[in-house]
Symmetry: C2
């Protein structure tokens, strides 16, 4: 029972009372209770959806991407879609709203929760901001939030509001509009403004602060934000481990330091590769550019072990509510790294199988049983969506920590 106890926060016990249309208990019936979705968010960055939903690539490529997405949908229930301003609206006034809406809709229809990433960031931001005064940049950033958050409300209700603020005002690789205004507003100031604006246009949304910096800098920044009354719903932590798996000790130490705010934690951008490690002396991961970064059988085994350990540690931590692996596939992966769960030819790596076994096996509930004389059956399962099957009838229900007894009519 060790594992069950450690995962008690992910589970609930429930008694179902099955009744017929007249309200009479359905007794002594064989039934099956099958989990159909997790409450926990297991996600990936899955930008291929844009091509697939809009069918705007050649047929062969489309078929390949559809196959990729089938593999994604077999395991995952959450997706991150790109809203990098410079790509979303490369020409001022011509946002790619239609294409992104189609993608978000495609995911929603398949029961996949969607997060938009990000609303404000100094990297890949709109180049045309550089022609503006700081006052105009801030107005444009506000207008961008108002437009996109409004347009996607109902399709996207989770946003990485602002990204990588720790370095934002000191980012000096190239001039950009967002670094400019972050210098004016200060770190906490720009976070405050962006959260307020996002909240204004989607009051019920889940709003994240996101950063790759897991040092004391980010801790102090969060501390300041919360004391300044900024309504952060979840702390986003990036964990691109191209230079090697953090390991249990660092991971637990990070969890420990970022959990004391009492807020949910999302691992928003996780990377564990199945290739050689990036040299540790590289400071900005973007600086490592090599022509070929192969996935090898040996490193695929390592990746599988690391994925298994890391996901298990995070799933056990009561405050973690989401894990997103940044690149679902090696095809199109960031930095060309073999960072996916599947290879460039869509074949699954061991990490894919290991994670599928956890998400759809060890952490998934499937029980059968018989209703008692009062039409009742009790079970314990992982939180999420369920289907009760009784003969040729199916009823959907939700398993949460709330009511212990639920009455279902078949």
């Amino acid at each position: 029972m060790g594992q069950k106890n450690e995962l008690a926060h992910r589970m609930a016990g429930k008694t179902i009372k099955l009744v017929d249309a007249l309200g009479d208990p359905v007794t002594g019936k064989e039934i099956a209770i099958k989990q159909t979705n997790h409450k926990f968010l297991f996600g990936c960055g899955i930008f291929d959806v844009i091509d697939v939903a809009n069918k705007n690539v050649p047929a062969e490529r489309l078929a390949f991407q559809e196959e990729k997405l089938d593999k994604f949908l077999e395991v995952f229930n959450a997706a991150t879609l790109p809203f990098y301003w410079g790509m979303f609206e490369p020409e001022k006034g011509k946002p790619r709203t239609k294409e992104l809406k189609a993608a978000a809709q495609w995911l929603k229809e398949r029961n996949v929760a969607v997060k938009g990433h990000p609303l404000c960031w100094h990297t890949i931001t709109a180049p045309w901001l550089l022609d503006m005064s700081n006052e105009e940049i801030l107005r444009a950033q506000f207008a961008r939030i108002e437009r996109d958050v409004t347009d996607f409300k109902g399709l996207i209700d989770t946003w990485d509001v602002i990204n990588e603020v720790v370095i934002m005002p000191i980012f000096d690789k190239y001039d950009n509009g967002i670094t400019r205004i972050s210098k004016d507003l200060g770190r906490v100031g720009i976070i405050k403004e962006m959260f307020a604006k996002t909240r204004e246009f989607n009051p019920g949304a889940t709003l994240l602060l996101n950063d790759f910096n897991t040092s004391i800098n980010y801790e102090i920044l969060i501390d300041g934000c919360l004391n300044a009354g900024i309504p952060i719903d979840a702390i986003g932590i990036q964990s691109h481990q191209h230079q090697g798996y953090w390991g249990r000790e660092k991971l637990e130490e990070v969890l420990d330091r970022f959990s004391h705010y009492g807020l949910p934690i999302h691992f928003t951008e996780n990377t564990l590769t199945s290739g050689h490690l990036m040299p540790v002396e590289i400071e900005d991961l973007n600086d490592y550019q090599i022509p070929e970064w192969p996935s090898t059988p040996e490193f695929e085994e390592r990746q599988a072990k690391e994925v298994e350990e890391m996901y298990s540690i995070l799933f056990k931590h009561p405050q973690v509510e989401a894990i997103t692996t940044w690149s679902f596939s090696d095809d199109g992966a960031w930095l060309g790294a073999p960072a996916g769960f599947i290879r460039k030819d869509n074949s699954p790596k061991p990490s894919y199988e290991v994670l599928k076994k956890l998400i759809k096996g060890d952490w998934y509930t499937n029980v059968t049983g018989k209703t008692d004389d009062n039409g009742k059956i009790s079970f314990e399962g992982f939180l999420g969506d369920y289907e009760l099957v009784c003969g040729d009838k199916k009823i959907s229900f939700h398993l949460d920590k709330e009511a212990e007894i639920v009455q279902l009519v078949i």
Copy 2:
């Protein structure tokens, strides 16, 4: 005029109209205008005042300390007195209020501004806090602030409210009551509470946040505090340079990063030694303990140059309002370092002479002239207190940036 322009923020022009008791202009009179004090605070940690004011050391030692203080008073107009809780109230309920009051009074009578250091810190804090619950520790800390800030109001109206908060909750050298409560409250939280309590009992006081950490950590912490509405009056920056002078570039970079909040900056704890440098691999300066750390002629020259450059850079920066050198004398200096302006035998080092020449020479105003037909005389001088001497009469006045004309009656 180069220097004058660079120091324009430290100066003011003033026209004095001299009248007699009947209100008639005193015309064609030779007068002297002598600066008697700086507006800028040139301070030292000068804990010997406690012994001298209370005369609680043997006569020989007392004479030596009095001689030391004479040298101090020749140059400086500000003093930091120690309020380390563990030393101020080693036994609960028996604070050294009387001795510290005598010291503050002694300084006040000599026209020296006094700062209390610090009200809350995890180092040298009261050991008896360890027997308390966290709730009791916080109550005791509040009560300590209420008592001491009230007791010293009028004598001490400038406080280092809280010290070294960046490391406070992660300080792990030894258990202590303040680290315990800082973990509960968070960094910004504990700063907020301590500032609110101090402000409550001395609304007009100048309240500082103080830290040795000049990294992005401290920047973000200040940013968070200001966004959380904490009324910080001045940013305190420690600059113990036992491991080598920062140099112009780092100093200007620190000034640049910490000036954009628009707040006054105090260099609260400056050290430039006249001895060999502490090895750079020492992380916590307190870990460097050697039996003898001599002051040498060669290094005294280096110290004098560094003092001259550093004080000049800081005096030129419009937001810096105070520089405190932590150890006035090698006698009793922190870590036994040759950190003073005077040696263990009270003889002045070159740094003393260099600084005296700046503070009481280059940056001090002494002019003579004759009143015109309307009894007026105009001059430009460094901000501060002045004495106008006319024959055998003296009048005190204050030079500030306010009114351009002032009428003095002789």
